[in-house]
């Protein structure tokens, strides 16, 4: 007895699927990916963190040809800086940016650059060293503080609606 074979699984169709799955991330990257070369930017503010050894930089783009990383746009960049990088708050720098649009709905963008390729364009005496974060010790307690905020208002409501303290007429 001859059994029917699944003819729809043809080799050409399988090849097509493989190609689609290979090309799909490339297409997505073309939509979501951001690559900007020789971007001039200013460091507005910065903070260093002990735990992950990261530095958080608030930057404003001054000059760029890219559509997404455009002049006037501000970004927060988190990266590991070497102790002798010489990067200070207030400096004007130049670097090649890579990044991606995280969320198509809100258009949230995250960008980064290689700290080793950064050029310091302008460094003046007004520039200041990057300070250590004063809030870092609190970060571990953030979930507890959040729960405490909610519980505090639960207690307030329980007090307000309790029949114990109610004034009886």
């Amino acid at each position: 007895m001859k059994t029917t074979s699944a003819k729809f699984i043809s080799p050409s169709l399988v090849t097509l699927f493989i190609l689609v799955f290979m090309l799909l991330p490339v297409d997505l990257w073309a939509i979501l990916g951001v690559e900007a070369t020789a971007v001039t930017f200013k460091i507005l503010d910065a903070t260093k963190y002990h735990a992950p050894g990261m530095t958080s930089l608030d930057i404003e783009v001054i000059n760029s040809d890219d559509y997404v990383v455009s002049p006037g746009r501000r970004f927060n960049v988190e990266l590991v800086l070497s102790p002798d990088s010489g990067i200070k708050i207030g400096q004007t720098l130049q670097a090649d940016f890579t990044g991606m649009i995280d969320d198509l709905g809100s258009g949230r963008i995250s960008v980064s650059f290689d700290p080793n390729t950064v050029l310091i364009i302008d460094d003046n005496p007004a520039c200041v060293e990057i300070p250590w974060s004063i809030w870092e010790p609190v970060f571990d307690y953030l979930p507890v503080l959040k729960i405490a905020f909610i519980l505090f208002w639960w207690l307030v409501v329980i007090q307000l609606v309790s029949k114990k303290g109610a004034v009886t007429s």
């Binding site: 930057i59 649009i101 949230r108 959040k146 909610i150």
Partner: protein, 168 residues
């Protein structure tokens, strides 16, 4: 403090519980402002509907875009419209619950300022969103029905009448 304790002891417990649960969920979302909020779905819907009229530049959160601010204003104005409507029809509890939506509107302002690295306005908006949550909770308590039986008076009367009809 003694004067405040038991001030709302005669309020409808169902409404009190509802306000507390909504407050808890909204507070958790507001305390994690960059993550999911249920009303985000509403914002996306607004964006889809108004996108046909207003030309939103892509991506939305540019530092110098007017259309992004128009979009933000739309999200902020929606609870204001609801608040006016609920007050107009006399639904005071629902009008109070709209404050949780106002908190979400402030959270959106926080997200906007956070994305564009304006720290002080972002902090102000975060504190405002928390404040609006608390105001929403307290207003919900204040505007809850005084007696639990009052809210279902018609239904209770109806049920009593039904019982009378059934009994010989």
């Amino acid at each position: 403090m003694d004067r405040l304790a038991g001030r709302f002891s005669n309020r409808n417990r169902l409404q009190v519980w509802f306000a507390l649960i909504v407050f808890t969920i909204c507070a958790w979302w507001t305390l994690n402002p960059l993550k999911f909020h249920l009303l985000d779905g509403m914002s996306v819907t607004i964006a889809i509907f108004t996108g046909a009229i207003i030309d939103f530049r892509f991506p939305f959160n540019s530092a110098a875009g007017v259309s992004e601010i128009v979009f933000l204003m739309l999200i902020v104005s929606l609870p204001a419209v609801l608040y006016i409507y609920f007050n107009k029809v006399g639904a005071r509890y629902m009008a109070s619950a709209t404050f949780f939506w106002f908190a979400y509107a402030a959270q959106n302002c926080f997200r906007f300022f956070h994305a564009t690295i304006y720290r002080i306005p972002a902090l102000i908006m975060f504190i405002l969103s928390l404040l609006l949550l608390v105001v929403g909770l307290l207003k919900c308590l204040q505007n809850s029905e005084i007696d639990v039986l009052e809210g279902f008076k018609d239904e209770i009367e109806e049920a009593d009448t039904d019982d009378l009809e059934i009994s010989p």
